[in-house]
Symmetry: C2
Subunit: 214 residues, 2 copies
């Protein structure tokens, strides 16, 4: 479908472009340029043009990019031109916070269920959306019933791999892992959000060590 090999850092940058395009649209503009995007994101204009060019010709020479068209195009590329149903495993601090997180809802991600192995939590409903907490035992059944496509792992590190294996068994399409542990999966897309790693990278820099980029 997409022929050329795409550098790994591109997907994260596309998400940044999408965010920036939204900001520009909200400020009332209807056109932008790789130069403007580059200035706002502290990136080279060339890099932005190159990244976009992997997926199509979204601009007009001499004119720049139509913001609405660019937004739509980016949403198509990022797969957020549709809604995604999400199930969160682990109704602890992180799991609960995510289930109420506007940042996800606003982008078309919909948390439809939480799962926990603690019987005292099962049966409750979370947040303003009243998202139900189900037993971990029913996870495959609920994934099917509710058309859950993305699983979020928000359990302690020592349970994360078992949960991941279970999700794969339930034929989940992708996993976002918040547990501070490396997961071994094949054939399922995985993204890690390692909070403590970011803190360590920060203190590394504060305290002397120093790397190139951010």
């Amino acid at each position: 479908m997409i022929p050329k090999k795409i550098p790994a850092p591109v997907s994260k940058r596309l998400a940044l472009y999408h965010r920036c395009v939204n900001t520009l649209l909200n400020s009332g503009k209807d056109t932008t340029s790789s130069k403007e995007l580059g200035e706002r994101l502290s990136l080279k204009a060339t890099q932005i043009r190159k990244d976009l060019s992997y997926f199509g010709d979204f601009g007009k020479r001499g004119m720049g990019y139509d913001l609405n068209y660019l937004k739509e195009s980016l949403e198509r590329v990022l797969g957020i031109n549709k809604h995604w149903n999400i199930g969160i495993v682990g109704a602890g601090n992180i799991g609960m916070a995510l289930s109420n997180y506007q940042g996800l809802t606003r982008e078309g991600y919909k948390v439809v269920a939480l799962f926990d192995r603690n019987p005292s939590k099962v049966g409750n409903f979370v947040g303003t959306q009243k998202i139900p907490i189900y037993s971990l035992d029913d996870i495959c059944e609920k994934i099917r019933e509710l058309s859950i496509e993305i699983g979020v792992i928000a359990v302690p590190a020592n349970h994360a791999q078992a949960v991941a294996d279970k999700l794969v068994e339930c034929e989940i399409k992708g996993i976002v892992n918040f547990a501070p542990v490396k997961l071994y999966l094949d054939s399922v897309a995985l993204e890690d959000v390692d909070i403590s790693t970011s803190f360590k990278a920060l203190t590394f820099r504060i305290q002397g060590g120093s790397c190139g980029g951010t």
Copy 2:
């Protein structure tokens, strides 16, 4: 202090090594090798040796690495051989979840205060640690009083830059930003934890696009 130029991805990998070393120690081992670490983290042994070599000679030829010594060394390099005091700005979902988050406490990060501009939240205490919520107006004063070195931004995107400017004015040492917006700072270390970007990178991959690494 550290002479050679260190590639940007190294700091994140160091944090992974640290995590892996802890796991190995907990499993009762007291020695490891770049080969073993590489297998566990799906990285090349050479890369691990090279990364470590930027900071010292932590191994013994023919013998591998003493886990305790490697752990200590990594903690020194990452700056987690000391405790860091953290202040979280924004007592919403994310801010509250972070203030109770074991993953930080366990690594020597201590959340000592939250800040919010909502008067109905100010004066309350959060979680088992009874962390106080202060008014955003008092932030510089409290940062000094409580020796807060790291500020966490957990406010909506449209307030994030103002909060960041304030933190810099209060002479914070570093910032971890959870708001989905690009911040402009100079002279203060910044790490972004962009949750929705990770979800977008995931759906990008699920839905057809594909990049090299994870």
